[in-house]
């Protein structure tokens, strides 16, 4: 079966098992490796991408669900890595190992698109599904506030 997905702005026709999770479609078929595997059960958020602007966990979302829709990954968040969140992330030197950070940024980007000035509670609630084993949470909060133009 052919699936039509617009991925990072480009329409694609893909002949894949419609049950294949989007994560493996992105990573193994399309070579878009910025989206990470962390748990396979939608428990850690490393695989977070946007489907029509909404946060989804790509590890548990079958490819068929994206048919006819638009998918954005970390590679497509901004043309040159200059999304306000990406800039804030670099300024605050948020990442440690870096593995979960694409998922964190994608979740935060969807939050800011919806709530340009989120409260601390909204930040915590929104990012609750994204684990960071290195423990960068306090800097993640600071970077989101910075990108949103909220005074520290």
């Amino acid at each position: 079966m052919s699936i039509h997905i617009t991925i990072n702005g480009k329409a694609q026709q893909l002949d894949v098992d419609p049950e294949m999770p989007l994560l493996w479609l992105l990573r193994d078929v399309l070579g878009l490796t910025g989206t990470k595997y962390g748990c396979g059960q939608a428990l850690c958020g490393a695989c977070t991408v946007h489907l029509d602007g909404q946060v989804i966990r790509s590890c548990c979302t079958p490819a068929r669900r994206a048919d006819g829709r638009s998918l954005t990954t970390i590679e497509g968040l901004s043309p040159d890595g200059s999304h306000p969140l990406q800039r804030a992330w670099v300024e605050q030197a948020v990442p440690q190992c870096g593995y979960c950070q694409a998922g964190q940024i994608m979740t935060a980007a969807a939050l800011l698109a919806r709530r340009p000035k989120p409260s601390d509670a909204e930040i915590d609630q929104s990012l609750a599904g994204n684990l960071c084993r290195c423990g960068t949470y306090t800097r993640i909060r600071a970077a989101i506030r910075k990108a949103a133009g909220i005074d520290p």
Partner: protein, 772 residues
């Protein structure tokens, strides 16, 4: 500045334009990425130097033109400076810190620096990125490695001008003749300098610290842009033409074997290419592959479905007896009898007998998992007589050894490339997952990526050991501690390597033998027990539970005396002093993290200072007010001194929360202030996870946890609103940073929980007994 992410982007597949970075590997692509024909990395393949400083590489027609006094540094005639990071990047920021260290000593302009990751090779000296050792073990040597190149550039310039080298300095990629102001760039000097003899490390003088521009400051994170754009290549992201993906069904019980499985069902899954039984490991297990059945497929999804279809039946073997609750009882029996004495000062038993008062408590800490966000993964390709590996390994030389062993080949035929590590914490210093990939690549004659799932990671880890401890203190009539006995029982890491199951001085050095308290009678005893899982080292290792018991126990003594824990702790530490003799500690040996006691004494003054600093910063005098309570703990580990104060509150639902925390470290001279801070922040969160939730428990020899629903980790909502880090300015030689933040975290939280609730925590995680 140019900063390599190891692998050059391959030509993009047309259908992916313009978005897919499409990182692919072409053979030796990292060399072309260097844009040098052969430098450090390549030299390492063919030279068997004992250490990095052993000698400069032999002049080779293939060597890139320019100055290359050792395997770490190359200065090109263009002025480009290539610096090799030979340690693994796993979140500690070594790929920023090390280049800045070299550049600072060399006088290189960071805008002209290119960073290259070193392959696994003895030519670099030790590459085992653990023990918080990258800076602390080799700081002086690393300075001299760069000073060698600088002295040659300076000598070449001085020769050209006919002036004394001492009248010249190297700065911003040029050599300056100070009296005249004349300059020559590094690029102009590179060829001339390369013709000079390279001085021995001992002959070169590092710069005076006053000339340093980077070392000790908060330095930029060079890989930040790669991380935030998804372009950093982790082990799981390596792509090679024709690569297959394998997942392995591993025996649920250590030492278990495959009884039967349905290969046909797995092969019937579209995309599955091979079903291969893995070699059966023999005890001692060391870093052998785990056995089981591999499903090798075109992509991960097919491999996962194929594995499910295998329907393997297992024969569990002897370790099926392992039950955590029963095992805890056995450990308890051990600590209630005398163990092997590894520390003895005065006459502790007699002093306990005469004490006006005794305080006694027992503590339990369960197995802990590493759970790095990137589960183990490795890629291997065996072509004819050469094998290439790409892996997120902490120890590329050991990975090379293990890969060669799995192939039955000499090491020279194996190359190990180190990718970014998506977390590691000790897990990725074991090369079992590398051997799996190599074995399957050889069997299938195709490049293979072995991908561990989260379930595989949690259920087949090398766990931090499980322990029970008993502490007994004898107090005199005034309440002063006059006798201290610490018994610890656990299966040590040695159980992975052989039949020995007795903890030794090398294990008790972590927080017991170096606990330099000012008490006349001190005794430490250890007891061991057979392991039924593979035991490994997790960030700060035995310090985790030793620091937990000691700091909890001091709080118990304070409670018994009705005294302030901080005061009791400082009284126990005694006056500021540096302990440099084994006799003073009452031990016959102290590994001291591989450092001489003379250079790195047990410094009770530094331990006092971190306690004083952290209690001052946290407002310790108001330790219980406004619905919150503070808890304190401190610890020496990896030659650094750390203290933590945690503030604990009840939230609106009555759940205990850490709402704020303070951490102070004295790590001696620090290399990169910002990465020291980030390691302290990270240690605080890591420590919270193990204090509050994290535990691996066993039933029938099988790990009971399988994913993040039952192995809970701290999420952002549970993180403190603020983590206040303070780093003591110190001229002491560098200590460790990656691990020393962790040990005091759990006891500080436990002590705060007691202050708030009156409930003493003697067992981790706290979630076993309280709502957290």
């Amino acid at each position: 500045m140019i900063h390599e992410h190891w692998f050059e982007p391959a030509p993009r597949a047309p259908e992916n334009e313009p978005d897919a970075p499409g990182l692919r590997i072409v053979r030796r692509s990292f060399l072309s990425a260097l844009n040098l024909s052969l430098i450090g990395l390549a030299v390492g393949w063919f030279e068997q130097a004992e250490a990095a400083d052993a000698k400069a590489p032999a002049a080779s027609a293939a060597a890139a033109p320019g100055l290359q006094p050792n395997v770490f540094i190359h200065v090109a005639p263009s002025g480009e400076v290539t610096l090799v990071c030979h340690r693994s990047e796993m979140g500690q920021g070594i790929r920023s810190s090390l280049p800045f260290l070299f550049a600072d000593e060399l006088g290189a302009d960071m805008a002209r620096v290119r960073v290259v990751q070193g392959d696994g090779d003895k030519a670099y000296g030790d590459q085992n990125t653990d023990g918080s050792s990258s800076i602390r073990n080799r700081y002086e040597e690393l300075r001299r490695i760069a000073a060698t190149a600088r002295s040659m550039l300076v000598a070449a310039a001085a020769q050209h001008w006919g002036v004394a080298p001492s009248s010249c300095t190297a700065k911003r990629n040029q050599v300056i003749h100070t009296p005249s102001g004349r300059t020559l760039s590094f690029g102009e000097l590179a060829i001339a300098a390369s013709k000079l003899p390279a001085p021995a490390l001992a002959e070169v003088e590092p710069r005076p610290d006053s000339e340093l521009e980077h070392i000790g400051r908060a330095l930029p994170l060079l890989d930040a842009q790669a991380y935030v754009t998804g372009r950093a290549t982790f082990g799981a992201d390596v792509r090679i033409d024709g690569m297959l993906t394998a997942v392995i069904a591993r025996p649920p019980v250590v030492g278990g074997r495959v009884a039967r499985f349905d290969a046909q069902a797995a092969l019937a899954v579209p995309g599955v290419r091979h079903v291969i039984e893995m070699p059966v490991p023999e005890a001692p297990y060391k870093f052998q592959p785990w056995g089981g059945v591999a499903v090798v497929a075109d992509h991960t999804w097919a491999a996962l479905r194929g594995r499910k279809a295998l329907n393997v039946a297992w024969s569990d073997g002897d370790n099926a007896v392992y039950e955590s609750e029963r095992y805890a009882e056995q450990l308890t029996e051990l600590i209630r009898a005398p163990g092997k004495a590894l520390r003895n000062l005065g006459d502790t038993e007699a002093a306990l007998g005469k004490a006006a008062r005794r305080v006694e408590a027992e503590y339990y800490v369960p197995h802990l998992p590493h759970a790095p966000m990137e589960p183990p993964v490795a890629v291997a390709r065996c072509d004819g007589d050469h094998c290439e590996v790409w892996a997120p390994t902490q120890n590329p030389q050991a990975a090379r050894t293990e890969a060669a062993r799995a192939l039955g080949w000499p090491e020279e035929k194996v190359t190990v490339h180190v990718t970014f590590l998506g977390g590691a914490f000790g897990r990725k210093s074991k090369a079992d997952f590398v051997s799996e990939a190599v074995f399957l690549a050889q069997k299938t004659r195709a490049p293979v990526r072995v991908q561990w799932t989260r379930e595989d990671d949690l259920q087949h880890d090398y766990y931090n050991t499980v322990s029970k401890q008993q502490l007994v203190a004898g107090l005199d009539a005034a309440g002063k501690v006059v006798a201290w006995r610490h018994r610890t029982a656990f299966p040590p890491i040695a159980t992975v390597f052989g039949p020995n199951h007795e903890p030794g001085a090398g294990d008790l050095q972590q927080g017991i033998l170096d606990f330099g308290i000012s008490v006349p009678n001190v005794r430490a005893e250890a007891a061991g027990i057979d392991a039924h899982v593979r035991i490994g080292w997790l960030r700060s290792v035995y310090n985790i539970f030793h620091a937990f018991a000691e700091n909890s126990f001091v709080d118990e003594i304070a409670q018994a005396r009705g005294a302030d824990m901080r005061d009791v702790l400082l009284e126990l530490y005694g006056p500021a002093r540096q302990i440099r003799s084994l006799e003073q500690l009452g031990v016959s040996e102290l590994r001291n993290y591989g450092a001489a006691l003379e250079k790195h004494p047990v410094d009770m003054g530094r331990l006092r200072q971190v306690v004083e600093r952290v209690t001052e910063a946290s407002g310790w005098n108001q330790r219980k007010a406004n619905g919150r309570a503070l808890g304190l703990a401190a610890h020496r580990s990896f030659l650094s001194y750390t203290a933590v104060v945690a503030s604990v509150v009840h939230d609106a639902q009555g759940v205990l929360r850490v709402d704020e925390a303070w951490i102070t470290i004295d790590a001696g001279k620090v290399m990169n202030l910002d990465r020291v801070r980030s390691q302290m922040e990270g240690s605080l969160i890591f420590g919270m996870s193990l204090a509050l939730y994290g535990a691996i428990t066993m039933k029938g020899g099988v790990v009971q946890q399988s994913n993040f629903h039952d192995l809970k980790l701290v999420r952002i909502g549970a993180a403190p609103r603020q983590i206040h880090v303070s780093v003591i300015e110190s001229d002491a030689p560098p200590g460790g940073v990656g691990e020393p933040g962790l040990p005091p975290v759990a006891p500080a939280i436990a002590n705060a929980v007691f202050a708030l609730t009156g409930q003493r925590v003697r067992e981790l995680p706290i979630s076993r007994t309280l709502r957290v």
